[in-house]
Symmetry: C2
Subunit: 129 residues, 2 copies
DNA sequence: TTATTTAATGCAACATTGTTGCGTTTTGCA
DNA sequence: TGCAAAACGCAACAATGTTGCATTAAATAA
């Protein structure tokens, strides 16, 4: 296993993801770090950050791939996605509904890898406008 | 609103989706109706079949868009997706876990549009092999 | 500080998936 | 059978993601 390096481009990408309050797509991230590095490099950095467990790869309800720093878990352990997420179709923000735990009771013959529990709709903030 | 027509290409596409026991992507469908029509036509047919409520558009856990005929609901009403789905990463089949109803208790300030409740993993059949 | 190793990058080229415009064909119906 | 428009084919374009390879730069050791 190779030793990861902390490059300027990597820092820039991680900074954009960290400072955004909603999950970003690769094109959005590339736009925000404009000039810092090549388009291809962004893809490779994102892959690395995911394997290093620094960021989460999120599949949105429309199929777009977004990346976010999960605020409710530290980096040392896998995040338990046993709770619901709310994906606002207006502002695109994805919110963790941590208190809404989903209990899954499947036969042992099912080997569970990951849970994708997302509700799409309009969040309170966008509702108001 | 335009009146839909029953073309040969449309029949072919619908037949492939109907006879498959798992959701198919556009490339898979195009491959299976090979020669029946153009690549672009498949896209347009799929869009039409979705608006006509003949098929369902499904976003898989990996972000790919798949199409399927939903067996557990007739065509005249919207399907209630308040139950869990199991998506096998080996055989790609998506199963409805109809008995696993998820009760969502969100504040009224959230306007819910759709639920995406999918578990990814390995299904019993693929487990055995 | 400098040298060394190899992780990371840039660039070009390619692949896949999806969209748009437009002229032509075909379907459903009068 | 004739007609309106739904559907189609084709070409071109657009967005997103991947691969190969020569070059650059980060981390560590000398």
């Amino acid at each position: 296993m190779s030793i990861p390096r902390n490059t300027k481009a990597k820092q820039a990408v991680l900074h954009e993801i960290s400072s955004s309050d909603f999950a970003l797509s690769q094109p959005e991230i590339f736009e925000r770090v404009k000039g810092a590095c090549d388009r291809v490099t962004v893809y490779r950095i994102l892959d690395r950050l995911v394997t290093e467990n620094k960021i989460h790869k999120i599949v949105n309800v429309d199929g777009t791939i977004n990346y976010a720093r999960c605020t409710s878990c530290d980096e040392s352990h896998m995040h338990a996605h046993d709770h619901l997420h709310f994906s606002c179709i207006a502002c695109k923000k994805i919110e963790c509904l941590a208190e809404q735990i989903v209990h899954v009771n499947l036969p042992a013959s099912y080997q569970i890898k990951e849970l994708f529990l997302t509700i799409s709709g309009i969040c309170p903030s966008c509702q108001a406008t």
